[in-house]
């Protein structure tokens, strides 16, 4: 595997299987009374969050702690960044303090890649702008495989604001890489015109897509997009692309409903639908911890500690 995880393009199909298998073995840790293994004892993981995020930050924090790493949470409000410190200077500071891994969430696409120019440790992309969110895609694949037994050949729809969604990018690339059939569904203003080059299909008619699906993956729609005239009203959006109780009945039996959170209940997904047994939204959250443990472990865990010891 690469030294960093910046994009789904950084991992091969074999890497993905290894990441999911490793996560499988870590999931059990979360069911113990003492939810901790010593794999990363003495290593330092920094959570560098330039954007507010509750679930992703907590998930990474728990993952690192369950591996016995030391965890520093660096959020930009009330820090040197709010005093105008640049990304480069923040990176050099963290480097000087000996961070082994930096988990970065940033509103600018490409910021994690830029960060790698200034630090020696592994960089994990926890979501950058409208670019990628690879750990989300991996935990989604894990959840699909866990529930449906495979990824190859699955038919999945990704519904909503694909244009501005880092989740949709990473998941599209990951599904294509694993041999699943993905279809992007949404109004044409919110689907990148060149999306077929990602190895996915495109549709603007949710109802025609639903009966053929194994996974219906709903994206959060920001109300701000209405102000920018990507669609005329939230009401019309929900009517055309919301997953309602009626629509969910068109899904084949056993098909999953997924959502990366946080949800806009009543906009892209009805409250009732979010709480159905086929909806695995909470499992996605639980599995996220195991996936992030797996990634931290593989990126800076056992193997490199051993070679480091041999070199010293």
């Amino acid at each position: 595997m690469n030294e960093h995880l910046l994009s789904i393009h950084d991992v091969s199909a074999e890497d993905i299987v290894r990441i999911l298998d490793t996560a499988e073995s870590f999931r059990e840790v979360g069911t113990r009374v003492i939810k901790k293994v010593p794999a990363l004892r003495g290593r330092t993981v920094v959570n560098l969050f330039y954007e507010n995020s509750t679930r992703t930050r907590i998930s990474f924090e728990l993952a690192a702690k369950r591996l016995s790493a030391d965890v520093i949470n660096f959020s930009t409000s009330g820090s040197s960044v709010s005093k105008g410190e640049s990304l480069k200077d923040t990176a050099l500071t963290l480097q000087a303090m000996g961070a082994d891994a930096i988990v970065i969430r940033h509103s600018s696409s490409g910021a994690p890649l830029t960060l790698t120019r200034w630090v020696h440790g592994s960089v994990l992309n926890a979501g950058d702008g409208t670019h990628e969110h690879p750990t989300q895609a991996l935990l989604d694949l894990y959840t699909m495989r866990d529930r449906l037994g495979r990824i190859e050949g699955l038919r999945a729809a990704i519904v909503g604001d694909v244009l501005h969604s880092r989740v949709a990018r990473s998941l599209s690339f990951a599904l294509a890489k694993m041999g699943a059939e993905a279809t992007l569904v949404g109004p044409p203003t919110l689907i990148p015109p060149d999306a077929p080059a990602w190895g996915v299909q495109v549709s603007h008619d949710l109802e025609s897509v639903l009966p053929k699906l194994d996974v219906c993956y709903m994206l959060r729609v920001q109300k701000e997009r209405q102000r920018q005239q990507y669609f005329p009203s939230v009401r019309e959006y929900a009517r055309l692309f919301g997953l309602t109780r009626d629509r969910v009945a068109a899904l084949p039996e056993g098909a999953l409903v997924m959502h990366p959170g946080p949800m806009n209940r009543g906009v892209e997904i009805d409250s009732d639908v979010a709480d159905l047994p086929r909806s695995v939204i909470e499992e996605q959250v639980t599995n996220g911890i195991a996936i992030r443990m797996s990634l931290l472990y593989l990126l800076l865990g056992g193997s490199r500690t051993e070679t480091g010891g041999a070199d010293a």
């Binding site: 940033h106 600018s108 696409s109 910021a111 670019h131 244009l163 990018r169 015109p193 060149d194």
Partner: protein, 429 residues
């Protein structure tokens, strides 16, 4: 003190009279001399090309206002080292060059530096705000020939019409437009296409340029004014210009070296040195730009030399400013990427970098012909010399899209007003 020089045995390339032959050129009292005079310093130019000094239509010298990025002096030194004997600093300084005082200041700083001629561009509208026309007449008296709100276009067609029409009162005055529809370009960080969607960077479609090119050409027709289009980037714009020229409109156009060399694919690593405006477009657009330059649809190469502080460029991609420096690399870029592959002749390249911009700018002392009695503004370069673009630069900034590139063609001497301001690749002042 004026020098007596003899540039011996160079290949003289002089597009103004279509000359391309090996000859000696003598210089005395700031002018090209008819024959060599006794006691002249002889410079052996065997194997070198001697041409009229290059002329840049589009330069950002940042002074007054951002002297940390560039000053008139440092920018002129970069220009001289790049073979330029004249530059046209754009009006988007602080304060804006929208009144004669700033024009005088910039030109005086240029004279004090003594490295090349400085022909400041005036703003079209006060404060570049698109609302009130500057006092064009007073600016013309101060010596301005080109007016531009560069950085943005004149936002409404009526204002542009009035500026183009009003400027007809003054001989040779040109209205230069940066063609970008602000609503389509919005927060665009790069060319809109497959790569922008995958990189998650907001795109700026080529149509953002094309709709303004189309509008401006229509308004030029309506007004009968003299229009120049800055840094064209899209194949569609070129087609519009081609048709307008065939129709006989008074329009000229420029392209930058970086648009001739790079494309959107160079942005895959989010390297902010490739963040420029207009953005680098597809390789098809780049090919169209090269052919249009070769066939004269695009008249001139202009650097859009845009210095930025290191700390501003070493930032998140969407927070970094647009622009690349270009004065010190323009000639080598054109020679390496357009002349060497056979897209155009050396004679046409020099025409596009010297003779044509001198004509557009109304700078009769530049661009040739290299004939006795004419001002001695000349460049001598070694077309075979290979080098790697790397700091230090004479520019105060180092945000070059060409960093680390191997290029061919290096300036040896620059003669400005008869004086050797660059000798053996070194600035003399």
């Amino acid at each position: 003190m004026p020098e007596r020089l003899l540039l011996k045995g160079a290949r003289v390339v002089d597009p103004a009279i279509g000359r391309d032959e090996v000859a000696d050129v003598a210089i005395e009292d700031g002018l090209i001399a008819g024959e060599r005079s006794a006691g002249a310093t002889v410079l052996d130019c065997d194997g070198y090309v001697l041409a009229p000094g290059l002329v840049d239509l589009h330069t950002h010298l940042r002074q007054p206002g951002r002297e940390d990025k560039e000053t008139v002096e440092s920018g002129c030194r970069a220009a001289a080292l790049g073979g330029y004997t004249a530059v046209s600093p754009m009006a988007n300084t602080d304060p804006v060059a929208d009144h004669a005082a700033v024009i005088h200041e910039v030109r005086d700083l240029g004279r004090a530096a003594g490295l090349c001629d400085v022909f400041p561009v005036g703003a079209i509208t006060r404060g570049l705000e698109g609302e009130a026309m500057v006092e064009i007449g007073e600016m013309v008296q101060a010596g301005v020939r080109v007016f531009s709100d560069d950085g943005r276009c004149v936002p409404n067609a009526r204002m542009l019409r009035n500026a183009l029409t009003y400027a007809r009162a003054f001989d040779g005055v040109v209205i230069a437009e940066h063609c970008e529809d602000a609503t389509l370009a919005e927060d665009g960080q790069m060319h809109e296409g497959l790569h922008s969607y995958s990189l998650g960077l907001a795109g700026q479609p080529r149509e953002a340029e094309e709709v303004i090119v189309a509008r401006d050409l229509a308004v030029a027709r309506l007004s009968g004014g003299r229009l120049h289009l800055c840094h064209l980037s899209s194949a569609g714009s070129i087609e519009l210009v081609r048709r307008a020229k065939a129709e006989g409109l008074r329009v000229t156009a420029e392209v930058t070296p970086h648009h001739l060399v790079f494309s959107e694919e160079d942005l895959l690593t989010y390297d902010t040195n490739f963040k420029v405006n207009p953005p680098l477009r597809s390789s098809e657009d780049r090919e169209a730009l090269r052919s249009a330059l070769a066939d004269g649809t695009i008249d001139a190469v202009a650097t859009d030399h845009a210095p930025h502080a290191v700390e501003d460029k070493e930032a998140e991609f969407d927070q970094a400013p647009s622009g690349t420096i270009g004065l010190e690399t323009a000639l080598a870029a054109v020679l390496t990427h357009v002349v060497e592959p056979g897209v155009m002749t050396l004679l046409r390249a020099i025409e596009a970098m010297s003779t044509a911009p001198a004509r557009i700018l109304g700078a009769p002392g530049h661009g040739g012909p290299i004939e006795p009695g004419r001002p001695a503004n000349l460049v001598v370069f070694d077309p075979a010399a290979e080098w790697t673009v790397e700091p230090p630069f004479a520019s105060k900034s180092r945000n070059s899209a060409f960093l680390g590139r191997r290029v061919r063609g290096r300036v040896v001497h620059t003669v400005y007003a008869g004086e050797l301001v660059v000798a053996d690749g070194k600035a003399q002042r």
